[in-house]
Symmetry: D4
Subunit: 184 residues, 8 copies
Amino acid sequence: MSTMAQGGAGEGRTPAEMGASSAEKPWVGVIMGGKSDYEHLAVTSELLTQLGIPHEVRVVSAHRTPDRMFEYASTAAERGIEVIIAAAGGAAHLPGMVAAKTVLPVIGVPIPATALNGMDALLSIVQMPKGVPVATMAIGKPGAANAALFAAAVLSGKHPELRERLAAFRGAQEAAVLRDSVIV
Amino acid sequence: MSTMAQGGAGEGRTPAEMGASSAEKPWVGVIMGGKSDYEHLAVTSELLTQLGIPHEVRVVSAHRTPDRMFEYASTAAERGIEVIIAAAGGAAHLPGMVAAKTVLPVIGVPIPATALNGMDALLSIVQMPKGVPVATMAIGKPGAANAALFAAAVLSGKHPELRERLAAFRGAQEAAVLRDSVIV
Amino acid sequence: MSTMAQGGAGEGRTPAEMGASSAEKPWVGVIMGGKSDYEHLAVTSELLTQLGIPHEVRVVSAHRTPDRMFEYASTAAERGIEVIIAAAGGAAHLPGMVAAKTVLPVIGVPIPATALNGMDALLSIVQMPKGVPVATMAIGKPGAANAALFAAAVLSGKHPELRERLAAFRGAQEAAVLRDSVIV
Amino acid sequence: MSTMAQGGAGEGRTPAEMGASSAEKPWVGVIMGGKSDYEHLAVTSELLTQLGIPHEVRVVSAHRTPDRMFEYASTAAERGIEVIIAAAGGAAHLPGMVAAKTVLPVIGVPIPATALNGMDALLSIVQMPKGVPVATMAIGKPGAANAALFAAAVLSGKHPELRERLAAFRGAQEAAVLRDSVIV
Amino acid sequence: MSTMAQGGAGEGRTPAEMGASSAEKPWVGVIMGGKSDYEHLAVTSELLTQLGIPHEVRVVSAHRTPDRMFEYASTAAERGIEVIIAAAGGAAHLPGMVAAKTVLPVIGVPIPATALNGMDALLSIVQMPKGVPVATMAIGKPGAANAALFAAAVLSGKHPELRERLAAFRGAQEAAVLRDSVIV
Amino acid sequence: MSTMAQGGAGEGRTPAEMGASSAEKPWVGVIMGGKSDYEHLAVTSELLTQLGIPHEVRVVSAHRTPDRMFEYASTAAERGIEVIIAAAGGAAHLPGMVAAKTVLPVIGVPIPATALNGMDALLSIVQMPKGVPVATMAIGKPGAANAALFAAAVLSGKHPELRERLAAFRGAQEAAVLRDSVIV
Amino acid sequence: MSTMAQGGAGEGRTPAEMGASSAEKPWVGVIMGGKSDYEHLAVTSELLTQLGIPHEVRVVSAHRTPDRMFEYASTAAERGIEVIIAAAGGAAHLPGMVAAKTVLPVIGVPIPATALNGMDALLSIVQMPKGVPVATMAIGKPGAANAALFAAAVLSGKHPELRERLAAFRGAQEAAVLRDSVIV
Amino acid sequence: MSTMAQGGAGEGRTPAEMGASSAEKPWVGVIMGGKSDYEHLAVTSELLTQLGIPHEVRVVSAHRTPDRMFEYASTAAERGIEVIIAAAGGAAHLPGMVAAKTVLPVIGVPIPATALNGMDALLSIVQMPKGVPVATMAIGKPGAANAALFAAAVLSGKHPELRERLAAFRGAQEAAVLRDSVIV
């Protein structure tokens, strides 16, 4: 995919110009179970920046730092966070447990981190019981990218300018395919 | 689960009193591939009503009425729809194709309608490529219920009263478990 | 299986005579995500009783009562609990999250409660990351029974009389098969 | 496999001599969700050329260019296209959605493009509901090759010379195995 | 689905009036591994009749009558058969072996006949090696119905009137959904 | 594993001395769908040689050479073949179709040759319907080795010296593990 | 299937007349993990009787009677047993462990006894490591029937009259299909 | 993960100082089906050493050395072993068979050693029937590490100092995540 397509929403502006300076209070909290997950999640941060959405990226482990996880989830709303993106592999309890401690929308990204290549994380994230939803994305990088786009869609209810940026992103994406679609 | 828990958000009021009269313009469009899917989706409508969220429920088939699907998706925003919930079984293309034609948040619910008992629908809905997200819920009724709750969470950015209703729903749900938790 | 085989460890004695009176402080905490899981877990309590192991059975939901879950897990040891058996279906976060909040041995039982018939719960319980183990049993009733027997095996390090009861249980079980093994 | 076996249908002739010049109106439209899928689809074009079947190869994305997809599908017949081969990975909605917009025969090829290695694409393509069929081939290159051979079989109803070319291809293929079948 | 939708292609005419009399030479051979498979395949015959396509339905077992299978496959073309629909469960070798003995288009339908509920048959039918394609449909009845529709699409290259009947079928199908699409 | 363990049955003798000269009529026919499968099957031939069992190794493709396959299967017994080992990947019809054309014992080996890594071949080989058995081994090299050992076990009914060689093989195998079993 | 087809090998004779009196020393030992497995295994005994093969049927549990299992396996050959058929569900260790203690041919039948419907037993039985083969049949009743037929094929090396009975069985089976193969 | 986190329980002391000298009688027996499994199991021994738990590591194969396995299992308790960790791949019968011959707690670790990447071993280990439990850990290295930690949890009933070391390990693990949790 060309840079044009990916850069469609914020072409020619720096993140700061788009309103994503790190000084600003984050709208989106991106958390993951371990630092190695960031290999998959980097695209999430890139797309949020590109769409001008202030965000933070943190390691919060459901199993190794359960108290920190509960504190993060239960204080996110009062800190101004509007959407949480949580990524995890294997048993992947992070998204669901965060969702249990907040009524903010939680987006889950299954990471292919074990011998089962993400199928374990997918089922663990998506099969939430009635009462506590997690919006599950595809396994790995496609899901990590879409988590950013879906966060933007959620935020666009309150921040209508994001709807336009998303439409521009889609338009650039479509144009990139159309521009170069003849193979034989 | 007691009626208390389920009724927490709107106890003692009729749907109309809560603002969900059918005369009002819907905030949420609930669509499904076939009428038989409503067996799974009835709970979605019930919970939306309970949370006071105006909505409509329609049959829109990706494969049997593709033009209607595109029209529904591309005109939803201008009709005032803010979130789309799309349910489908088997190949389950409805949620992803609707998402391709709108930048509104689309929530997908996999229906167990084939010999593979929903695993086909789950993978078909969740494994969206980079660029077009679908927020996937659990297979069947738990996912159908959570689609309503997640829609409420999305809407609560713009409609803050929903955040309180969601918190009340969670509180009632928690209380119902705590009230009756001793077995032996 | 004959009653002999099942009753081997405590034949002819009431639970109270075997030391499992409810007045006693429980050694094993049996928890499950919802009351309907008890259909699968009843055998756990029966076998613990039969082996003379004081225990309690509680509904503790990871997603609907997260604070209660953390409190249960973090205070279990000081209440004298020596082993926790946690059962859950679907996303099945209960065993892993309890294990994150205690260093007591936690035994997990996957419940077949969704369209995926327990495969989701199995993967969610067993695929724990390095650092926080859950001892996973088979899906459903066989696993629920074995959770009791494994708890007894764990306890027998400190309570050697349990090793003998387990050996008697095994002996009775073996005898029941041998007694009646000719079909054609 | 020897070149003989693969080249059986059109040995010694150029594609143009066999009637597959790009100037001619295509009988088969080969479309795929993204350019990277062509790694798997190149064999499709090669075999169509070898069998003397005029064709075109295009990138048409169900999710990134939905309108283009509908236009492609709904105008294919009037442009003289007789068979459509559609390949996609992940959620893989392309074949099924194209099939929803045409009554031409649509052949689907699942591409192994995600962490699930094509199982997602296979189920998404094959599990079409009653009313809109997609003729699904094997995952990846074997399926991409067979899509060309199956398109030839479909076309041979109207173009009987293709039946002979297919028979020659099969004959060469059989001879290649028989020629060299003794290992020990 | 209303009778209207299913009957769209041949409403008001008997099979004979539509040209599907059993006296006519069959265009489509429908074969299955065992008589019990007809429970799934009845819809195939019904739809072929409805579309006015002469056909025969036979039990031909790959494993119990291998010679009969080879004879059926290798003489089908000279008997005037233009498309073969082959259904099988379990190891499901029938479609692939028939395809190995003819260059006619072969459509495969996986039957859910074992403990694995059709997943075995699906993989066995669809995962054909390069060189011998089988056009695989969905597991069970949806696939059995679509096999008839796809056979019609294949035949419509040579028999253009079928293209119109298929379009009418699709139109009736679409109308049936649209007529009755409002639930709430 | 040491050479001792593998060589246990025929240590110090050449294949010819053990009676496996290629001049002798083969007792075991080893066939596979394609030459590339021999990468997995080489061990089969090695173990048969080591156990002194005359055999032949041939490429026989169910799909590319169906007539050759039927001829091979139906004439094997009269040629003195007593056991057939058939290996195949993907749809993997070879073992089951050979079994349909002979009453000799047929041993099937699933080859991991596709994106599904042998699961397709395993199900296609093992899920044979009532009436025509195939003795299925593990996927890939372990199964290919065991096919040789199982063929020896079958042959040892008529050729009792093989039972002793198998026992010697097992003894050497056991000794090799015991000799070197202390790690820490 | 008609009684003719099933009764083909021994029509009109009692088991005793066919040489399968219980007074005779068994050639085949049929064992299973629990009495409830006999629901699936009854057909095994019926077919062995029909083919005139003396046999015994016993419950031998790998986990509940491990010593009995080892004794059974290690003394089978000296008792005159020539083939062992072992059936088990779930973890299904019986066939593999019996195979580890004998060089007789061991045939394994996976029983669908758990929430995973036999997939667990299939993998546990078939995925044996290099060195100790188990001839695995299909899950459940088809596999149980085929175990008897495969045992007959194995025995026919030493007992040539069985080869003729198997051929007659196959002939009757084929005739039954052919007699009644026209549906439409 | 930093060395600090892993070394938390025994920082600055040698294994001997922590009481894990090889002269001491082992509390934990770590066994595996083959030497190559030690690639996955090394971390088990490292963590046991770090926690000051005397242990031995042995190759014991269920299939190649069944008698040795039974002897190991049935004499472990009298040798002072308190917990057995058994790892195996493929059919993976070792943990379950050891559990059948002892009432000591047995922990099973599935090794990804075949084409199915550990799913076979997982199901074979975890799906034990009622009566004989195996405490199953995650597939591969995470499970191998957790087996050591779970063994420590089991032992801490009798050896309370281990509970403190486990708590220290957890504390160090938590601190390591918290220390370094800000990414963006």
